[in-house]
Symmetry: C2
Subunit: 267 residues, 2 copies
DNA sequence: CAGTGGTCTAGACCACTGG
DNA sequence: CAGTGGTCTAGACCACTGC
């Protein structure tokens, strides 16, 4: 051990605090107690001990389990809540974040209609075009930390708003964790795709990065979106990550932006 | 007063805490002490008492000034730091955030080159095309909370990377706070435009929202960016806000995305 | 009413910075 | 070395939820 950590054998909270304080006199990496607690909680999330939408133990219980003060677990929870991994609800408890509760708008979808609320015209219509097993291209392999040629699933679908095709998406998933995914299961499921991933495959998407460009469609894409070849589209390339920052999905969306726009907040 | 607040006349920290606790038995709006402190600090920022890049008083001083415990001002500072209004530096103090320190990359510019770091080819070349006084269109007026026809300044400029024109921007500013802004001053200033706004006009941009679309350029835009009429571009419409959430700038950028991409992080 | 998260305090000690 | 922010504790009390 190069840094101090939380041991079940430590007898008191003070002992832990002292351990942190006195730790590793020459080690540059100093990790405060609440960060170590955070790592332990991350393990509980990752291992499935705490499942999406379920309540985690109360702050007092966690403080007792980790043998630290309530304020310290509080700070750990604060950070996890700030990263949208946990959701606090006063009077009720702290819950594991999920994609299953966003009914009107998908959590990671930043496309909004010019007029009116996201859900004013009802939910999006989804049509699965294709769902097949294939070998990873170099691009996909790199994005998913696989090797070129490894087995992946590719899903192609179209999202429509008020019956206007607006989004054409290709999704690539590593075949192993998503074994058994079919077009039928995607069609039957009523809710966000990421919610299905949570309940059916135990994969929680926690964070994503998008690269956005302006492009023109090819002929296939024109047909699927029912647009002309000179219609400019937003190309949105996404890599989504689970708890340990492991990439679990690559996705490329083409967004029609004549009646919708991609919204972003800068801080 | 409908809610409790921090008075200079309050004698002890405990008195404040009790005031909050016992306040407004029938008032639904309950505001914790640290939120009230936050508002007071916001006033100090807004009034110019604390200027960009300067240090604010230490936590102990603030605790004494507001007659609360250090932990309470700490929580207020924590939130202001999370919103990027303040920057904490251990051992040195807490400082007012500024746009003047980002030399390699502008803080609100999310366009990155496909290969290499933002600053690998040196800073962007900036060319001011135009800077003129005009009357606000309906769109601009709505965005800036003005009336149609009110005086505004319009700046048009082109940013180039490695001598390739990549961004064409129109910027609209309310004429009153930016009185005296000219193309020359914009050209002479060596640094981000928002840094000039801070030092010359006392306007600190704190937050912004962008609406992104894919578009095709018109003939003027083709000439300025030296591109063909079928080149798809990212249209980035931005409204930037100061401390009190008052809009102080509207901007429309056209981004060439054949060698660059717009990066966004989803949480 | 009991149990949860949320606020506030007071005090101790640590890590980092600069003179 | 003194001064700053950063961590940790212990305990009190409040706001909110649901039974």
């Amino acid at each position: 051990m190069t840094t101090s950590s939380v041991f079940p054998s430590d007898s008191t909270a003070a002992a832990n605090a002292d351990a942190v304080a006195a730790a590793s006199p020459a080690t540059p990496a100093f990790s405060p107690l609440y960060q170590q607690i955070k790592v332990l909680m991350l393990h509980s999330l990752q291992s499935g001990e705490w499942k999406p939408s379920a309540a985690i133990p109360s702050e007092q219980e966690l403080a007792a389990r980790f043998k630290v003060s309530q304020g310290t677990v509080r700070k750990a929870i604060d950070e996890l809540a700030a990263e949208n991994l946990l959701v606090r609800r006063q009077g009720k408890g702290t819950f594991v974040a999920t994609h299953a509760e966003h009914h009107v708008q998908y959590r990671f979808l930043k496309l909004f209609p010019d007029n009116g609320d996201p859900g004013s015209k009802g939910p999006a219509q989804r049509e699965i075009i294709d769902c097949k097993r294939m070998r990873a291209s170099a691009d996909v392999a790199r994005a998913l930390c696989l090797h070129t040629g490894d087995a992946v699933l590719q899903v192609r679908r179209v999202l429509s708003f008020a019956d206007v095709p607006t989004i054409l998406e290709d999704v690539w998933l590593p075949a192993t964790p998503f074994k058994g995914l079919t077009a039928e299961r995607l069609n039957d499921y009523d809710g966000p795709m990421y919610a299905l991933f949570e309940t059916e495959f135990g994969v929680c998407m926690v964070r994503a990065e998008e690269k956005i460009r302006a492009v023109l469609p090819d002929t296939d894409q024109c047909a699927l979106l029912k647009i002309g070849p000179q219609t400019p589209l937003l190309s949105v390339e996404r890599i989504a990550y689970t708890y340990n920052d492991a990439p679990m999905e690559m996705r490329r969306g083409l967004y029609l932006t004549d009646t919708h726009y991609y919204r972003n907040a800068l801080n």
